[in-house]
């Protein structure tokens, strides 16, 4: 469980649900589990996010106006055979999805969504990502962050990181090209008293270990991971 949480913390989930109340509550839940939650209120928005962003797991409501969850799943599958897709729907819709479930195109959880069912589906999704080596997030032409093992892979070499280094790199990698403030990093490290110096030190060691120019310092503001946007470049 702890390991699952650690991994999820580094991942981005795309969540689509048309009911306002359910969406609000489930979003809060997902935000506790995932590093980043992209929230769509219908299938169109979900597809827009998919085109714009890198996602690791998709959690889609089946019944949505215009474009339903299954159509979103099909569209995603047309471009990507690996991203785990979880569709939640009422019992009566299960039949319609049986074909897709059996083919492994999607995972299915019954609505109303229970905690165990959600955790179970996420565990399955992470296992699938791990099996397909999809837990590596590329951030430089030759470097990838291994989310499961919290280390960096550079070609055949494995670069080990300390816990703090991994946490900081994780946040930066997750939000590539987004400025990460000192406060955000303190939060990620669960240490609100972390000094500027200590932070600078961690970043310095990271740069040295990884021999990369990717981590950019914005004076007095924070850091960001500068990388070229490649849509499916894990």
């Amino acid at each position: 469980m702890q390991q699952l949480i650690e991994i999820l913390r580094n991942l981005t989930v795309l969540y689509a649900e048309d009911d306002d109340a359910i969406r609000a509550n489930t979003t809060k839940t997902l935000q506790m589990l995932f590093g980043r939650v992209l929230v769509a209120k219908d299938g169109m928005e979900a597809l827009a996010y998919y085109v714009e962003e890198k996602i690791h797991i998709a959690l889609l409501d089946y019944v949505m106006p215009c474009v339903d969850g299954y159509e979103v799943a099909r569209e995603i599958r047309a471009h990507d055979h690996h991203v785990p897709i979880i569709i939640c729907s009422g019992y009566t819709d299960q039949e319609k999805l049986l074909g897709a479930i059996r083919l492994g195109v999607i995972e299915y959880i019954e609505k109303p969504m229970a905690y165990e069912a959600l955790i179970g589906a996420l565990t399955g999704a992470v296992q699938k990502l791990r099996n397909q080596q999809l837990l590596h997030v590329k951030f430089d032409s030759h470097l990838a962050y291994d989310v499961a093992n919290q280390c960096v892979l550079g070609g055949a070499n494995k670069i080990d990181l300390t816990c703090q280094e991994a946490q900081v790199l994780g946040v930066l990698v997750r939000h590539q090209n987004h400025l990460i403030t000192k406060e955000q990093l303190q939060e990620a490290l669960h240490d609100s008293n972390l000094s500027d110096n200590a932070l600078r030190n961690i970043v310095y060691r990271l740069r040295k270990k990884l021999k990369t120019e990717c981590i950019v310092t914005v004076k007095d503001m924070g850091y960001f991971m500068a990388s070229k946007r490649e849509r499916h470049g894990y």
Binding site: M1, I5, I22, N25
Partner: protein
């Protein structure tokens, strides 16, 4: 006496034929070729239905008897030939033998397109009407194509063939025999059967099935019973036709009398004259009885087809109920999903050891309570709607409309419909409350359907309650001109509006439908 006269008549005719066609050895005018054919072709094999009393049957010793047997005996006599009967155990076997060419002629059957594949048919030996038989509680059936029922019919018969292909609204249950058909109806496993009047009378009487009765006489379902001749022998059919043409109506009547009489009374010591008289009396009695029953039923039907319509309304209600149940389960599922999403949030916090602030908890609990209230409301309104009460009560119009809106809340939301309910002053309605709820539901769903059909982006319903009545306006394009015209002359097919009209009429109100601006306007006012 009568029989004697007939015989005399036949003999005279025979002599006349002899005179006219000197050298003709038979009772029927056959050509040289035809006579030669009969001699050469003998014996001609005949298959019959071994179990179709009183039309035809083979008794235990294999003797062919019945109305058909007597008619065919006449044919044989006229032709001066003897047909060779190939015994079979069932009608299906007879059909099979005929197809295989084991018999040249089938005795007594209806002409159908399927059978025309291998048979050619003579002129009718005999005609009688088919009637619908049902249980005593079955209402009179005016139009067999407009009801939904199961019909037990003997397989491989022309009627079976006809019903299966012409009436998709009916479930045809294949049975092996007449007796089985009647038994299924008695046991409520089937609703109806269609049988020849003569056969039905025979079976009902013989087996004492007095809880069955004739419930309709569909037009165009007469039995024209003919002989079926193998297709490659057209000359044989021509010969049989000539003989059949000589059978007179009197002869047919005499034969029927002889057999129907036997059905009714198995008194053997009466003399032939009394047999005939008794037979005629019984037939007349049955005919009158049936006519009387039919007339009674027709009167009933004419009196606005009340019973039948009631049944259809009942069906319509059931269909509506199915819809409403679907709505309810949908509404419940949504509420459950709300509650469970809150639960999921709280449980995840607990599992991750996150702090739950008490203000937050209060909000969640309140939200859960709201969902539970909504579910309880939905259920209560549904039960009101579902209750099969006949209790006439006074109730507030607005209340009943709100209750109706509550059970289709999710559906309204999904259709993005806006309902504006206004009231000048309260209106008290009298009647069965859920009758009125059906009326409201019907109007609202009609609007939603029209909106969906015409792709109206935000259907709006304005329901206004005023002392003079209730009006419902929508922006969904209104009624089709055709529907309005049909409603005006009361020929509309849709049951919903018809039923609503009847219901409100029952309570001293009238429902007026029209089109206005962008949509339909339904006005309910006191008569």
């Amino acid at each position: 006496m009568m029989v004697d006269t007939l015989m005399w008549d036949a003999t005279m005719r025979f002599i006349l034929f002899l005179l006219f066609f000197g050298g003709v050895a038979f009772g029927t005018a056959l050509s040289q070729d035809e006579r030669a054919y009969l001699v050469k072709r003998a014996p001609i094999a005949l298959c019959v239905d071994p179990d179709w009393e009183p039309f035809e049957m083979l008794d235990k010793s294999g003797v062919y008897t019945g109305i058909g047997a007597d008619l065919i005996a006449l044919v044989q006599k006229r032709l001066g030939i003897k047909l060779h009967i190939v015994p079979t155990r069932t009608w299906e076997e007879s059909i099979a033998f005929s197809k295989q060419g084991k018999c040249d002629v089938l005795s007594f059957l209806n002409q159908t397109s399927e059978r025309e594949a291998w048979l050619s048919f003579t002129k009718p030996l005999f005609s009688d009407p088919n009637v619908l038989i049902g249980r005593i509680e079955q209402g009179y059936i005016d139009d067999i194509s407009k009801i939904s029922a199961s019909v037990a019919l003997i397989k491989e018969t022309s009627i079976y063939e006809w019903f299966s292909s012409s009436f998709p609204n009916l479930t045809v249950v294949p049975v092996a025999s007449e007796a089985e058909a009647f038994r299924l109806i008695e046991e409520r496993k089937a609703d109806l059967t269609l049988r020849s009047m003569i056969v039905a009378a025979h079976t009902i009487k013989k087996q004492g099935l007095f809880n069955l009765k004739i419930v309709g006489q569909p037009k165009g379902f007469e039995n024209h019973l003919r002989m079926g001749v193998r297709k490659d022998e057209p000359i044989l059919r021509a010969i049989l036709d000539k003989a059949i043409a000589t059978i007179t109506q009197e002869e047919r009547q005499a034969i029927v009398n002889r057999h129907v009489q036997i059905i009714v009374e198995r008194v053997t010591y009466l003399s032939a004259g009394i047999w005939v008289v008794l037979g005629l009396l019984v037939v007349t009695f049955f005919v009158f009885l049936w006519n009387w029953l039919l007339q009674k039923k027709i009167n009933k039907a004419v009196a606005k087809n009340l019973a039948q319509q009631e049944l259809l309304f009942q069906k319509n209600r059931q269909a509506e109920l199915v819809d409403v149940v679907a709505n309810i389960s949908h509404q419940w599922r949504d509420s459950l999903s709300h509650i469970s999403s809150l639960n999921l949030l709280l449980k995840t916090k607990l599992m991750l050891d996150k702090e739950i602030k008490s203000e937050e908890l209060v909000l969640h609990v309140q939200a859960m309570e709201n969902s539970v209230d909504f579910m309880a409301d939905t259920m209560r309104n549904f039960l009101d709607f579902y209750k099969n009460t006949k209790e006439i009560v006074m109730f507030d119009a607005k209340d009943s409309i709100e209750a109706t809106l509550a059970i289709i809340d999710t559906r309204l939301k999904e259709a993005k419909a806006v309902v504006v309910l206004t009231q000048e002053s309260p209106v008290v309605l009298e009647g069965v409350r859920n009758d009125w709820m059906h009326v409201w539901l019907n109007c609202i769903t009609n609007s939603l359907c029209a909106g969906a059909k015409r792709d109206i982006q935000s259907p709006t319903l304005e329901i206004h309650i005023a002392p003079e009545g209730v009006s419902i306006r929508d922006n969904c394009g209104g009624f089709d001109a055709l529907v309005l015209a049909q409603i005006a002359d009361q020929t509309q097919e849709g049951l919903g509006l018809k039923m609503s009209g009847r219901l409100v009429e029952k309570y001293g109100w009238k429902m007026r439908l029209s089109n206005e601006n962008w949509g339909a306007l339904v006005v309910f006012s006191r008569l």
